[in-house]
Symmetry: C2
Subunit: 205 residues, 2 copies
Amino acid sequence: MPEPTAGPPPQSNPPPRSDARAEQRRRTQARILAAATELFVATGYERTTIRAVAQAAGVDAGLVMHYFGSKQALFEQVTRGGQLPPAPSGTPDQVTEQVLAQLAGSLETEPVHSLALLRSMLTNPEAAQAMGEGSLRYRNQLAEAIDAPDADLRAALIIAIIVGVVVDRHLLKFGILDTTNPAKIIAVLRPALLTLTTPPSPPPP
Amino acid sequence: MPEPTAGPPPQSNPPPRSDARAEQRRRTQARILAAATELFVATGYERTTIRAVAQAAGVDAGLVMHYFGSKQALFEQVTRGGQLPPAPSGTPDQVTEQVLAQLAGSLETEPVHSLALLRSMLTNPEAAQAMGEGSLRYRNQLAEAIDAPDADLRAALIIAIIVGVVVDRHLLKFGILDTTNPAKIIAVLRPALLTLTTPPSPPPP
DNA sequence: CTCTTCGTTCAACGGTCGTTGATTGAACAA
DNA sequence: TTGTTCAATCAACGACCGTTGAACGAAGAG
């Protein structure tokens, strides 16, 4: 049975009992997980190699398999724990500010789970599905907070914008967006998002 | 020398002389190119296999190599010919309309060159560079047409938005954006883009 | 018809991948 | 000390990849 010897590091709690071997084991698992995360974020699922992860962690490739079972399981372990942003609510201005605050955080330091998923979503079906499910849930929450006829469409556009900006800044790094102060980006983006969260004013007769 | 026997199909001009063999050859090259395009768009560079392209074209894998030299060259052949949108100019409203018109076209039927590039840009360095260069050129043109202090940033954001929306619609297909009438998307997006192309009004004292 | 050209197939190469099972050696238990 | 546990290494497997060069067979040239 190639079953992993134990459930990989349960988040991050201090070992209840002091065991020299168990702690060494946790250390190594953590090193592997860190190396895998870095590589998945940097090059995506397809180009990331179990052997490369092992080498980056200073470990044999077989050990990676022994601890995580498979490459796919390792990837899921890396991308697990990404939690949805809190559901926005309130007036259009309040919703906008909550979305912008969330985006500001993502521009400052986007969590590695999301980056690994974002990097791989265009080429890896599992990553695409994971992103899709998260996107759907957040879109529903967002649409519920938008009081406009095309709430779903507006929510989808907001998400597309966020994804586009985050991908540009953290992954593609085409320029400007990856070096500009997040506050400035937010400031320029605010009026644009406001038009999406605010119901259109009926044209004057 | 593994050099391709001839420069692959030079765009699309009618064969100057009628040669039964030459025409059969062109047909096969075109079939290979079509199959390669479809696979590159659907699954990206890494997951697309020379063997799979050959099979989809009803041909041996060696023939693909013989005609296109290498997988990378085949990919470049597929993504070649993507031309930049015309540089926008005029008043902010005019610039917005030109950008929106361009986006509308991309929502209706985005050219396969761009889709192949978009699909692979997150995992393939060459694709990323090609996209980056195109993005940079268009961003400069766009920034020149925007009369605002942060023209570069605004142009970059517009491009990020366009990329986000097009990727969502044609590649990720997370929902709504891929089934909604382009005109409707444009209508909802217009006010948002307008805030990016229009210089901010100074706050009243 | 003979010879050449060339579109196409075929078999194989070297390499890398994910994955596996046996093995080693140090930490623990007795 | 002796025996057990287990983190970690090692060598190898089968599969698949991009790529190559020889070989075949039908279309053109003479």
